[in-house]
């Protein structure tokens, strides 16, 4: 029992695996992400939710240092065990970090594997890059073991298959194996189940959670699916218009949302509640194009609680970046 307490304390005291501070991402002067702060502790599973165009993927790509050529990031992205900032680091330095300290699972399993390489060779390659395995033979064996772990039966046969011989779900299992090959401290998942059909989604999610738990890896899970976040994550950040508008523990954010956007998002996912005409609740309007969000609170043109006060940017309310919100008229909090 004392051991359990000891490990719990160590986990709290250990430095964060990922620390993002003041991240801004811009493309030709159009801001895509503004002032994002986020922290992921060791072994922690954090969700990042938001609609399309809220800046989730851009945040993930800046963490990996994989932003497209004409997109620039400023601010700070630090990984524990890496002695330099990832923002502005050169390609050589980044390639040492990628795949070893931080790995990524992509959305589209149909295109995330090289069609001209056998999948076993692709997984083995991931280990050889960082010399996790001494030679090709060891890497091959380890790759087959890994394919077995992600639930590909006949893993020896699967290792010799080309991607086109596998189904979407099987390919995503290979992509997960590839990402976990070097036991990264942080796994970034960008909507890993969106492209899969519903029955396979649950299997792949289970696989990812088992994989990170077994390796004691932290995870940043990007999705627009609230139900997925609720099952997979411990903490959640809600993004809208390139900003984090609310963050906190999953159970608290989902049961007692404070930002009006989070409230609307959760209201819209409730299929029991209908209005007088029998229609489901929605958030009025649609997400503006990047760069045309209103000044001040980015959500105010779609918010029914908005007042003139909302033309000024709301300050972050809360003890730290992992628990709080940025809203002038929060739900469930008496008016200031």
């Amino acid at each position: 029992m004392s051991a359990a307490i000891g490990s719990a304390i160590r986990r709290d005291a250990a430095p964060a695996v990922l620390t993002v501070r003041g991240l801004n991402v811009t493309v030709r002067r159009t801001p895509l992400v503004q002032g994002v702060d986020l922290t992921v502790g060791p072994g922690e599973r954090v969700g990042l939710i938001g609609e399309s165009g809220s800046g989730k993927t851009m945040t993930a790509l800046s963490i990996m240092g994989l932003l497209p050529e004409d997109v620039t990031a400023t601010g700070s992205v630090r990984l524990s065990g890496v002695d330099h900032d990832l923002v502005g680091a050169d390609e050589r330095a980044l390639s040492r970090v990628r795949g070893r300290d931080v790995a990524m699972v992509f959305q589209e399993p149909m295109t995330a594997l090289n069609p001209t390489m056998r999948v076993g060779a692709q997984v083995a390659e991931a280990m050889l890059i960082h010399h996790t395995k001494p030679d090709r033979r060891h890497a091959r064996t380890a790759a087959e073991a890994l394919l077995d772990q992600v639930g590909l039966l006949n893993h020896a046969q699967a290792a010799r298959a080309y991607p086109h011989q596998l189904s979407g779900g099987q390919r995503q299992r290979v992509v997960v194996a590839l990402a976990l090959a070097n036991d990264p401290a942080l796994l970034v998942c960008d909507e890993p189940t969106t492209a899969l059909d519903v029955t396979v989604q649950a299997l792949v999610l289970d696989l990812i959670v088992r994989g990170v738990t077994a390796r004691n890896s932290a995870m940043l899970f990007i999705t627009h699916d609230l139900a997925v976040v609720a099952t997979v994550c411990e903490r959640v950040l809600v993004m809208y218009g390139g900003r984090v508008v609310e963050s906190g523990r999953v159970d608290e954010v989902f049961t007692r949302p404070r930002h009006r956007y989070t409230q609307g998002l959760i209201g819209a996912s409730d299929l029991e509640v209908v209005d007088a005409r029998g229609r489901l609740a929605t958030i009025p309007g649609s997400v503006p194009a990047a760069g045309s969000f209103p000044a001040g609170c980015v959500f105010r043109n779609r918010c029914i609680y908005a007042t003139e006060l909302c033309a000024t940017s709301p300050d972050w309310v809360g003890p730290n970046e992992s628990d709080g919100f940025a809203c002038h008229h929060p739900a469930g909090v008496p008016h200031v």
Binding site: L66, S95, I129, G151, A161, Q170
Partner: protein, 290 residues
């Protein structure tokens, strides 16, 4: 662990090609191209006569059982010369296309992988070379370094570099935009390894097509250079020089022009058909996804 969907299809060799209908141009082109290769191979072990044997008593004979294609003004057997000439044609083609591919393919891949502005700059330089007439370049080379098979090969090769670079770059740009390149980068792959392991294999179909098309161009260019006396020097038989030597007898003995002309035309047609057919075959719109 869940193993529901775990039955992996038996990996079959060449599975990617299975189930595709054969393309008529590939077949016709392939047969003609293979025919040229056969001619060259046969010439190593057998020709009806020594193709360089001059025999004044056998001058300008018409086709007969002894000389199937007749003899030329020096009494040399035309069939033997055509067979022997196919060697020159293939040799020049292989080396020229090899030179073009060895320079053009890396150039195209590099131009696709470097930052956009540098890539554009490389391609503008490439366009300059593309705008320069290939034959003129070859004539320049021959004038400077002397007429020889080697000069012809290198000149034709260099003239074919720009089209290689252009085609490969467009394919490589497409590959660079795919998720698996992003995934390879996210796994920590260095640019050089990405170029070799991920980009190159995925543009290999484009390379195959370009090799075949360039080969046709090289065959034609070799014939043109030899015709101008800037290619293969005598006595080595060459289709282009056979044309040139028979030029003055165009009206008295037209068959002397017809046979080498036909050989050139067939070889060019064969490699062109093969290239076109392969291009259709590799067209992503027709690609079988499973």
């Amino acid at each position: 662990m869940n193993r529901e969907e775990a039955v992996v299809r038996q990996p079959s060799t060449g599975g990617r090609r299975a189930g595709l209908r054969p393309n008529p141009s590939v077949i016709v082109g392939g047969v003609v191209a293979a025919g040229v290769v056969m001619m060259a191979l046969v010439s190593f072990v057998w020709t009806p006569y020594d193709p360089t044997l001059v025999d004044a008593s056998q001058r300008l004979l018409g086709p007969s059982a002894r000389h199937w294609f007749g003899t030329d003004k020096f009494g040399r057997d035309v069939l033997s010369q055509i067979l022997m000439g196919s060697r020159t044609t293939l040799f020049v083609g292989f080396v020229a296309v090899g030179v073009a591919a060895v320079i053009g393919v890396p150039l195209g891949i590099i131009a696709a992988m470097t930052p956009r502005r540098l890539g554009e700059l490389l391609m503008r330089g490439n366009d300059l070379l593309l705008a320069f007439p290939a034959l003129l370049l070859a004539i320049m080379f021959s004038a400077v370094y002397g007429a020889s098979t080697l000069t012809a090969m290198i000149a034709i090769g260099i003239a074919s570099v720009p089209s290689f670079a252009r085609v490969i770059r467009s394919g490589a740009l497409q590959v660079m935009g795919t998720d698996y390149v992003l995934a390879a980068r996210s796994a920590g792959r260095r640019p050089f390894a990405i170029g070799v392991h991920h980009v190159l294999p995925n543009v290999s179909s484009l390379i195959t097509v370009q090799v075949s098309v360039s080969f046709a161009i090289a065959v034609l260019a070799e014939a043109a250079l030899s015709f101008l006396g800037l290619g293969t020097p005598p006595p080595t038989p060459s289709w282009g020089r056979m044309l040139q030597e028979s030029q003055e007898m165009l009206f008295s003995a037209p068959r002397l022009v017809v046979f080498p002309g036909l050989a050139i035309a067939l070889a060019v047609l064969g490699f062109n058909l093969l290239g076109d057919g392969l291009r259709d075959r590799f067209d992503p719109r027709l690609e079988d996804h499973r």
